[in-house]
Symmetry: C2
Subunit: 377 residues, 2 copies
């Protein structure tokens, strides 16, 4: 079952495994593309990644739903023939092998481009197809460490902290999806495909936001700051009686509203806190003052008070709380798959809402290895 | 100066401010689109965000380079006329106002679509255009807190930890860019634009990776785990004599290579560490054993040893070290702008490398408010 979408006429041949590549082809699938996952006979490694329900990987299911599967051994002639027949019909080929693997299989970009001139070929890899580290092994954790994000994430003076999801893989998947869609658009005028080469490490550089600019402007190396913003105050997680609350009062007007709402108007005239610059300079003192009040009541109380006062604020939801947020449910961000083995499984929906297409609340099932061979060949 | 790319014929009218929207139109600009930034007479707020060089915001520069600027007050008739003339020529309109603002300006999607049927209209907002929270104010920090990522990022038993860059904004920018490019592709066959509605909170749900699956499979609420992987061991940041090292030894073969390389082959036959499952169960004991050895030498030493042994590993680079990584430089991920005020400024490059286009090492300059009016009107 395909989702209807802007890519409904598009055929993706998907050689990808584990996370970055499969996430990219999932995005294409959610935009309507037909995705044929070409797996080695032993299957994508991530079919064996936990957690499992009734022996089936929920990890694999969550990013490979709605894709068809065919098992092919690209070292065997008859399977290569089938693969090449698929490429004849394909619009997009995606792989996330270590660079050099496709060349070893005798599928270089130059040859593919000559033989299938309309084919768009996307590679996602740890370090990209070029450069001195290109052929090194890479995992999300290595990329997060090398890519700078870990140096600015965490509590000051604490152990290094990884972003809790694999944003090294996921941001690479997103940039690759952008490149593929732009290449599809461009093909409409030229008739030619192109190669899209995305490295996870490059993507980490691209998402560092103001850290590079702060370093270049000041010469100071940015450090982890816990939850707070480097240059806007109060903009942090604050203790309450039962948990924490996020408060993001980014200018004088919001700071005043905050102080009035928590009945600490005195803070607005305190010489230490008169401007955002001063508040950032005295960030620890201000946090202490605010927490004296905030720790007297529960998060829920303060969310109500600050919400009424128009001060941007919010809870720190855990995954269970998130899945019950009315906004998430209203936005169809939790969708389901019906799988004969797993049963009904909840997974994340598609955050790209398009006026021209329905946003379905279900996704296609999760194919076993080679399950769709007859529909494909 | 425009970058050449697949979107070279595309005109973007850009009403966006601060981060999520400008990041999206920067991505479009890096793909070759002409971006006309329509600012209110007082300019984008982020022109006043530090850090500054010679009084000019490096923050603003880093995501608004290569865009043209015109100042228009959309509440004034003659400026609305100019704006509407721009829409006649435009392919894409992007805004990141709080939902309802465009309607107050009398620019509803329905009217825009009727008047400019080919126009693609993208909105990026905190919570999206629909749902009970739609009109609430949102900042990255509020979204990170509400969206679950903060509940799985950080050290166990420590204070809440925000991801060190504004991934709430940036992932929304990336999903919006995907939607816009897919809509452009689709317009080629239908002749019609569509509306792309992306909410930052939705995007946080979409990037949680295995956290939702882990919760649904086990009923246990995922918690922050510091640097380690929830189900693969050893996969963590380990102390060395001078710093830390990332080691990602994701299977038995790599674990054996690791133990041999650090001369602790005994660990491979230790009953506590025989399988990945056992290693994850005894993650603290294993970390202690590994750190006994690793803390005797510096990170650089171990990177060489583990590199030669083929064990995925890497440093935790700070921003200064990152900017000097040979791979980053070889991939043209640090590019420059020449600005009359700031001088030569280094900024992040484009991680989408396309075979059909040159990847330039410079970007266009940073326009002052209204600087390009004469070229635009």
């Amino acid at each position: 079952m395909n989702t209807e979408g802007p890519l409904s006429e598009i055929l993706v041949i998907d050689l990808t495994r584990v996370l970055a590549g499969p996430y990219c082809t999932m995005v294409l699938s959610d935009l309507g593309a037909r995705v044929i996952k070409v797996e080695p006979p032993e299957g994508d490694d991530s079919r064996h990644f936990g957690p499992f329900i009734n022996g089936k990987s929920v990890y694999f299911a969550s990013i490979n739903r709605g894709k068809e599967s065919i098992a092919l051994d690209l070292k065997i002639d008859k399977d290569r023939e089938i693969f090449e027949q698929l490429l004849e019909k394909a619009d997009i080929l995606v792989e996330n092998y270590r660079p050099g693997t496709m060349e070893k299989l005798d599928y270089t970009w130059e040859e593919l481009h000559e033989r299938y001139p309309r084919l768009i070929y996307a590679s996602v890899s740890g370090f990209g197809q070029t450069g001195p580290y290109s052929k090194l092994p890479a995992y999300d954790m290595v990329i997060q460490g090398m890519g700078g994000i870990m140096s600015i994430t965490g509590q000051p003076e604490c152990e290094p902290t990884r972003v809790g999801s694999s944003i090294g893989d996921i941001t690479a998947a997103l940039f690759t999806s952008i490149g593929i869609n732009a290449a599809l658009y461009h093909r409409q005028t030229t008739g030619k495909g192109m190669k899209v080469d995305v490295g996870m490490l490059d993507c980490q550089v691209a998402i560092l936001e103001n850290a590079i600019g702060r370093y270049l402007a000041s010469g100071e190396i940015p450090r982890p700051l816990g939850s707070r913003h480097p240059s806007i105050t109060p903009f942090d997680a604050y203790k309450t009686l039962d948990a924490h609350i996020i408060i993001a009062a980014g200018n004088d007007a919001l700071f005043n509203k905050l102080c009035v709402a928590i009945e600490r108007s005195d803070l607005t005239t305190n010489a230490l806190f008169l401007t955002n610059h001063l508040r950032t300079e005295h960030v620890i003192a201000l946090k202490a003052e605010l927490e004296i009040v905030l720790t007297t009541k529960k998060t829920e109380h303060w969310l109500k008070i600050l919400g009424e006062a128009g001060v941007p604020s919010g809870p720190i939801n855990n995954i269970e709380q998130l899945l019950n947020e009315p906004q998430i449910l209203a936005r169809n961000m939790i969708v389901t798959i019906d799988d004969p083995v797993v049963g009904t499984l909840k997974i994340a929906g598609n955050p790209i809402k398009l006026s021209a297409f329905h946003d379905p609340s279900t996704r296609g099932s999760v194919s076993e290895i080679n399950e769709n061979r007859e529909d494909i060949v």
